[in-house]
Amino acid sequence: MDSASAIDAPRGARLPTVVSDRLAKKYSRNLKERAIEALLFLAAFVSVFTTAGIVYILVKESVVFFSQVPILDFLTDRQWTPLFDDAHYGIRVLLSGTITSSVVALLVAIPLGTTIAVYLSEFASPRAREVAKPVLELLSGVPTIVYGYFALLFVTPLLQALIPSLPGFNLLSAGIVMGIMIVPYVASISEDAMRAVPMSLREGSFAMGATRLQTAMKVVVPAATSGIAAAYILGISRAVGETMILAVAAGMQPNLTFNPLEPAATITAYIVQVALGDLPHGSVGYQTIFAAGLSLLLLTLMFNLIGFWMRRRYREVY
């Protein structure tokens, strides 16, 4: 206000009204600024509400569920038959499907994704990289239901030609397609990590007479280890949470197995199966999907936190 009165001082008599005018304006302006800031803050805080909502809903329903099903049974029972009269709630059954399909997916995604990342980061020309990266992004933008269709009606028949005994629903085909879906994800994060390795390290290696591959494998990849590991772990988290490919192509039959040639339900596929039926709100069957969802959330949360922490670490190094 000092400057305002200084400017207005020569106007003499009108000074007081001008100042109060400006004061009033300042207050209303401040009020408006404050209100806008508060609104923007609320928008940002929606993410906290969302997390709180997720945790609240999952925990609330799970508490009711676990009051009827002992948590020990949940963890150790070898059957998952919540909709039968003789109900069993062994999450291990669903976990086995989730783990098996994720392992298959990673066996596809990690070698392919890492190879692509090393190739794009250390070998490809900038031009090739500029073309390949967006195309890879397109690949990861395909809806998962479409991948599900592809797994069930293209990859499975193809695999059946090689393995005649393969059933129409199986974890193998779903896992392979899921792996392909995760490739761009793994490749892109690993490539970021490798590109963050300073050029001086590469030059040091080349100056010793190393080839590109030697430099890539002995210097760049080790230097980017934590970033690459983060890519893998975030890829695992992706695989564990993937739903539609498995719901479509792996069958929704609970099956305690680690054999990818068999059909089996995953945690996610089970939730879909229950949601497709018409379970009454408040029944134990309804609550199982929240207990399953909570297990899923904890699993992915664990992987995400590890991955997040590792990514942060490589950012700190350079």
Binding site: P111, T115, Y119, V135, Y149, L213, F308
Partner: protein
């Protein structure tokens, strides 16, 4: 010098061998990329061929039917369109506002840290968990029903991190001197944001919104979880009516289906005749998401080319 001189031929042989590995790896890299692209091409062609017979104009104007040959995606694409409208109307203002807050307003304190951690974490939460949230919260606690609005809100929450991250990146690329310039002529914070930050970051935000929406279009799991019906042979009430006040929001609470759910339904039927429908719907879905992604990539490319601060 002399230590290497006698074995120079040996060194050469070594280099030749090492170089051969280099070439081998390049081949491997190209094969790996090729597998990715080939999968994509196979996927697209497979669906196109399977669904070609159904890709006719009637397919868009018919309701689903018990007979595969007469089934169409009318209710599905209308449903998708309506859900997307709700999603965009919720996610864009919320996401952009949150991005602006975090970049331009947020103080460095634990609340801001909490928000940031939440956004990072939400980006990694499986989509089906959002479905469970919506089922417990929107459907039952808020009583919004298994409706267009529930689906729209769910997908909005799902893509919110994408929009926020894109907004923040777009804002971050605006150099500080722009802000200083605005403040120097006496603009308030909000005026600076409204007149400079938002306009200059619009293309970047748009890229994020398009990518987020393309993800929302293809999302199936959370919508199934909230209990969307898979067989809908009617359209929601139209938003414009003949009577005063000419606008109706009944469609918000109408039951609905969307494209990916329709496709899921057809895919999971044993009768192969329906698979053609699924393939046709899938082709359209892929085409839509591809177009949106391509648009986003193109926008980003142009952005990088045009803007030189």
């Amino acid at each position: 010098m002399s230590a290497i001189a006698p074995s120079r031929t040996e060194v050469r042989r070594l280099i030749v061998r090492a170089r051969r590995l280099d070439v081998l790896f390049v081949a491997l890299g190209i094969v790996a990329l090729g597998i990715g692209f080939a999968t994509f091409v196979a996927l697209f062609l497979d669906m196109l061929i399977d669904g070609w017979s159904r890709l006719r104009p009637e397919f868009f104007t018919q309701f689903p039917s018990r007979r595969a040959g007469q089934a169409g995606i009318l209710s599905a694409w209308v449903g998708t369109l309506l859900v997307m409208i709700v999603t965009a109307c919720v996610a864009v203002p919320l996401g952009v506002a949150a991005g602006i807050y975090l970049e331009e307003y947020a103080p460095k304190n634990w609340v801001t840290d909490l928000i940031e951690i939440n956004i990072t974490n939400l980006a990694g939460v499986p989509s089906i968990v959002y479905g469970l949230l919506a089922l417990g919260l929107f459907v039952y606690a808020f009583g919004l029903g298994q409706s267009v609005q529930t689906a729209g809100l769910t997908l909005a929450l799902l893509i919110l991190p994408v929009v926020i991250v894109a907004t923040r990146e777009a804002i971050r690329s605006i150099p500080g001197m722009i802000r200083e310039g605005a403040y120097a002529v006496g603009a308030t914070r909000w005026q600076t944001v409204k007149d400079h930050i938002i306009p200059y970051s619009t293309p970047g935000i748009l890229t994020g919104v398009i990518i987020g929406m393309s993800r929302a279009i293809g999302e199936t799991a959370p919508i199934i979880t909230i209990g969307a019906l898979t067989f809908i042979a009617f359209l929601p009430p139209p938003p414009v009516t003949g009577d005063f006040p000419f606008l109706s929001f009944e469609w918000l609470s109408a039951p609905f289906t969307v494209m990916p759910i329709q496709m899921f339904n057809w895919t999971s039927r044993p009768d192969p005749a329906f698979h053609a429908n699924a393939a046709a719907a899938g082709t359209i879905l892929v085409f839509m998401t591809l177009a949106m992604n391509a648009l986003a990539i193109w926008l980003r490319f142009r952005l990088r080319k045009n803007i030189k601060w």
